[in-house]
């Protein structure tokens, strides 16, 4: 009996903590379905007296929200493809090959963690102009590699260190080439790691703000983060209801990723625990 009571008490306690943590996000959803006049109630109503989806409709049909969404999707997907491809090859090279400067290179990658984005922005912008891609999605893809590539490289490198050498050696003994062994043996083994790295890269790119703020100033190439802020916070109005609705919709792709691929995400985090 005491044991059961203890269980119940613990569950209540734990769920209270969980709900307090999640409260801001719950409040975001509640606010987004309140009519605008109810928003400015003092004191605020907790449960909406009237549920409305007009804010979502307005965002979707009357604002460039869908354009920003498209941009964000293109941008994050392109960044992820580019970064993960390059990083997979790079990590494979760092783990399985031996040449001069390899260790030094790995250290340099670590150093890039220390670089704040603000340092790189202006030179990067000038470079984009020089190669003729300024103010485009491509320029953001290139800029995003500055933080996504070191990140992905390290993540993949540690995944690949976990793959036993013997597998590749066996393939080589069987007459496979190095690249053949890479595709047939290493890649399938590294797949969970690659998926998890891709997800992290995608999320990083999806949420980026500073580069998008400075490097792009046309709606044609503006992602959600800066697009929503620019559109809804202005000198003449702060559209809280639209902001909350936009926040919910911005998070939907992340919720989808999270729901379906949670085990890859946590594995990406957790692999370190296994190795200590």
């Amino acid at each position: 009996m005491k044991r059961i009571l203890g269980r119940v008490a613990f569950n209540l306690f734990a769920w209270t903590i969980v709900l307090v943590t999640a409260f801001p996000l719950v409040w975001m959803v509640i606010t987004s379905v309140k009519p605008q006049f109810e928003l400015f109630r003092i004191p605020p109503t907790f449960w909406p007296e009237q549920i409305t989806f007009e804010h979502y409709a307005r965002l979707l049909w009357e604002t460039p929200f869908l354009l920003y969404m498209r941009n964000s999707l293109l941008l994050s997907t392109a960044t992820t493809l580019l970064v993960v491809t390059v990083a997979t090859l790079g990590a494979h090279s760092l783990v399985r090959f031996r040449y001069r400067g390899r260790e030094r290179l790995a250290q340099l990658v670590l150093f890039t963690y220390l670089l704040p984005s603000v340092v790189l922005i202006l030179p990067l912008y000038l470079m984009m102009v020089w190669i003729g891609v300024a103010n485009s999605l491509l320029s953001l893809v290139i800029a995003y590699t500055t933080f996504a590539l070191p990140y992905a490289l390290w993540l993949l490198r540690s995944f690949m260190q976990g793959i036993p050498d013997d597998l590749e050696n066996a393939a080589l003994v069987d007459g496979a080439t190095r690249m053949g062994a890479f595709f047939d043996v290493i890649l399938p083994q590294a797949l969970p790691g690659i998926i998890s790295t891709s997800l992290f890269t995608f999320i990083l790119s999806w949420n980026e703000y500073l580069y998008a703020l400075v490097l792009v100033n046309t709606d044609e190439a503006r992602p959600l983060t800066t697009g929503v802020m620019n559109m809804l916070i202005s000198a003449f109005n702060i559209e809280w209801s639209l902001l909350m609705a936009a926040s919910v919709m911005m998070s939907i792709p992340l919720i989808v990723i999270f729901a379906f691929l949670q085990k890859f995400l946590t594995r990406g985090f957790g692999a370190g625990g296994v190795k200590g």
């Binding site: 202006l122 046309t218 003449f236 702060i238």
Partner: protein, 442 residues
């Protein structure tokens, strides 16, 4: 830059130096489609966007093969975006609605095309008297032209709350204003939504209070003038109003301040005519109780000083398709489109062309009709308005005004005195030093 005696290097030299480090020179390209006009503005409310689209379509139809792209910027964001655009020479063709003093800074650095052609195309005789005076920094050359007027520091009042508090007349002096706010404050309603944030609104509104105390930020020949009784009185009054403003006023900028009055959370407001449209859309309950007046001053002897940021049109010097850009700038003043633009925010952006004000199509608008007297009052006040770039008719144009606002030197003075409780003498001397430093850096 801060030291004129140093060898001034051009951009090429600077980047060439980078090349000497073996890094390649990012040469600056003008890669832009031949017939695209990029138009920037920070005024981007949905209704305004609609009016812009109308103007764009009309221009595109009249000029086959030309595409006009509208791109939104923002009041707090444009300095960074313009800087990046100028630095890369990837500039928009036409920029509208920036405050006049921002243009002065760009002009001073040789970044703008003179707008004489555009003014000529619109017809100089159509403008209100002296509407373009503020843009004539170099004699005979205009760094921009006005696309509107605004009266940003109008006092907005709620007749119903005044009546409930037993206040019969709108306040004329600061003491009356403070008293009225104090009597109307209560039951969840605050007195006023004055901004105390570290942002451009606080700087700009505080300048109004300095003038309302009979002072000025700079003397007519642009010497720093903040070490004055008027400046101190303004700070003192501004501080005394803090308890009559919502707690979050320490972060208020235009949006928050406007919303506070419109939502009914404050009894008075300080804003342009944008209030009218927002009340109609968001809080029609108070639509019949609002009125606007010139903002009180320290005493009845001190004349009102209206802050007009002079929403402008400018064309960067390196804009591609210069002829087309100029034609498009002039096109923005075509009555049909221009009136739509003005109607998108009735009473907020006021016409700069007297020919437009007189047109029946302009008068024919529900909000302008309903609040005719107020719109007229705002037009009249705005026409006689000033800003930091041009504090009084006797002042020389101040080409550092944009940098001073962006530096937040003035809003920081407010925060130091009101929020940090620093001693007056220290606040004044720090502010004076910052301003002198900013003036020297030109």
């Amino acid at each position: 830059m801060s030291d004129r005696n140093m060898t001034v290097l051009g951009r090429r030299t600077l980047l060439g130096g980078t090349a000497a480090l073996g890094l390649g020179t990012p040469m600056l390209a003008r890669a832009q489609a031949q017939t695209t006009i990029r138009w920037w503005s920070p005024q981007t409310a949905p209704a305004q966007r609609e009016a812009y689209n109308f103007q764009i379509r009309a221009f595109e139809q009249a000029n086959p093969g030309v595409r006009v792209v509208f791109e939104a910027t923002s009041d707090e964001g444009y300095p960074a975006q313009m800087a990046a655009a100028f630095a890369s020479q990837q500039v928009p063709s036409v920029v509208t609605h920036l405050p006049s003093f921002a243009l002065a800074t760009y002009w001073q650095n040789g970044l703008l095309e003179p707008m004489n052609d555009v003014i000529q195309a619109v017809g100089p005789q159509n403008y209100y008297e002296g509407a373009n005076r503020i843009y004539e920094i170099t004699p005979g050359q205009y760094c921009g032209t006005g696309i509107g007027n605004s009266a940003a520091n109008m006092l907005w009042l709620r007749a119903d709350l005044m009546q409930a508090a037993g206040i019969s007349a709108p306040p004329r002096t600061w003491d009356q204003l403070r008293d009225a706010c104090r009597r109307m404050q209560g039951r969840g309603v605050f007195g006023a939504p004055l901004p105390y944030g570290r942002n451009s609104m606080t700087s700009l509104i505080f300048i109004c209070f300095v003038h309302g105390a009979g002072g000025q930020i700079f003397t007519p020949d642009l010497q720093v003038a903040v070490d004055s009784d008027a400046f101190r009185n303004a700070l003192e009054f501004y501080k005394s109003m803090r308890e009559l403003c919502p707690p979050g006023a320490t972060g208020y900028s235009w949006g928050e301040s406007l919303t506070a009055f419109v939502s009914g959370a404050t009894a008075t407001g300080i804003y342009t005519g944008r209030v009218l449209a927002n009340v109609a859309a968001q809080n029609p309950r108070i639509a019949d109780h609002i009125s606007c007046h010139r903002y009180p001053t320290i005493s009845a002897d001190i004349a009102h000083w209206t802050f007009n940021d002079f929403p402008s049109v400018m064309i960067p010097k390196v804009a591609p398709n210069m002829d087309l850009a100029k034609r498009f700038a002039a096109h923005l003043f075509q009555p049909e489109g221009y009136i739509r633009q003005l109607h998108a925010a009735p009473g907020h952006v006021l016409p700069v062309l007297k020919t437009i004000s007189a047109m029946p199509q302009y008068q024919d608008n529900a909000i302008i009709n309903k609040y005719r007297a107020m719109v007229d009052l705002m037009s009249e006040s705005a026409a006689a308005g000033h800003n930091l770039g041009w504090e009084t008719p006797r002042h020389k144009p101040n080409t550092r005004a944009g940098a001073i606002i962006a530096s937040h030197a003035l809003s920081e003075a407010v925060q130091r005195y009101v929020i940090n409780n620093e001693p007056m003498a220290q606040v004044v001397s720090v502010t004076a030093q910052r301003l002198e430093q900013l003036m020297r850096a030109s």
